[in-house]
């Protein structure tokens, strides 16, 4: 998740508090990206791997996992952009 979506008004804080707040945000971002990693693996494994006759990933399963993960990352970026716009009160044009 983008840092700007977490806390916007750090500048108004005194220096000491700003540092502490910034450390809290860093920790949350690390935790968030590790959780994202875990949930992405779970999702793509669940959707792509259904055959347990061999212990190695087949070619088709590997391609499926790659597409799944890449689609997720692209979607996540797009959601982030739209989400930021809504946070700033920008209207999404209908059509």
């Amino acid at each position: 998740m983008d840092k700007n979506l977490l806390g916007g008004d750090l500048d108004s804080l005194p220096e000491e508090d700003k540092q502490k707040m910034s450390a809290i945000i860093d920790q949350l971002q690390i935790r968030d990206s590790l959780r994202m990693y875990n949930s992405l693996v779970e999702r793509c494994f669940t959707d792509c791997v259904d055959n347990f006759w061999r212990k190695s990933l087949g070619k088709q399963e590997e391609t499926c996992v790659r597409h799944c993960a890449e689609k997720f990352l692209k979607l996540s970026m797009r959601v982030g952009m739209r989400f930021a716009e809504l946070n700033q009160g920008v209207e999404i044009p209908d059509q």
């Binding site: 949350l28 979607l75 996540s76 739209r82 999404i92």
Partner: protein
């Protein structure tokens, strides 16, 4: 609440940082649930390619917009008069 008056200021500050942390955790969780929900609603599970097609892209935009509206609607029902973020 009345007890707050004679609590040491250090304690107070601790709580303010605690509140800010919870608030940020909430935003992260909102964003993650939004992302996973719109993935479930908009992405075809066969994963034939790695690009998002046009249909998926417009679905995502509308999904985010409607999710936002549901967040506001339920926020009103819960009696909090503030926007979701």
């Amino acid at each position: 609440m009345a007890a707050n008056d004679n609590m040491p200021p250090a304690m107070d500050k601790e709580q303010i940082f605690g509140m800010a942390e919870k608030e940020m955790e909430y935003r992260v969780e909102l964003f993650n649930k939004l992302t996973h929900t719109c993935f479930n609603k908009c992405i075809e599970k066969r994963y034939k390619e790695s690009e998002l097609n046009m249909g998926e892209n417009s679905c995502i935009d509308r999904c985010v917009s409607k999710y936002w509206q549901v967040t506001n609607l339920i926020g009103q029902l819960l009696g909090s008069n503030r926007p979701p973020m």
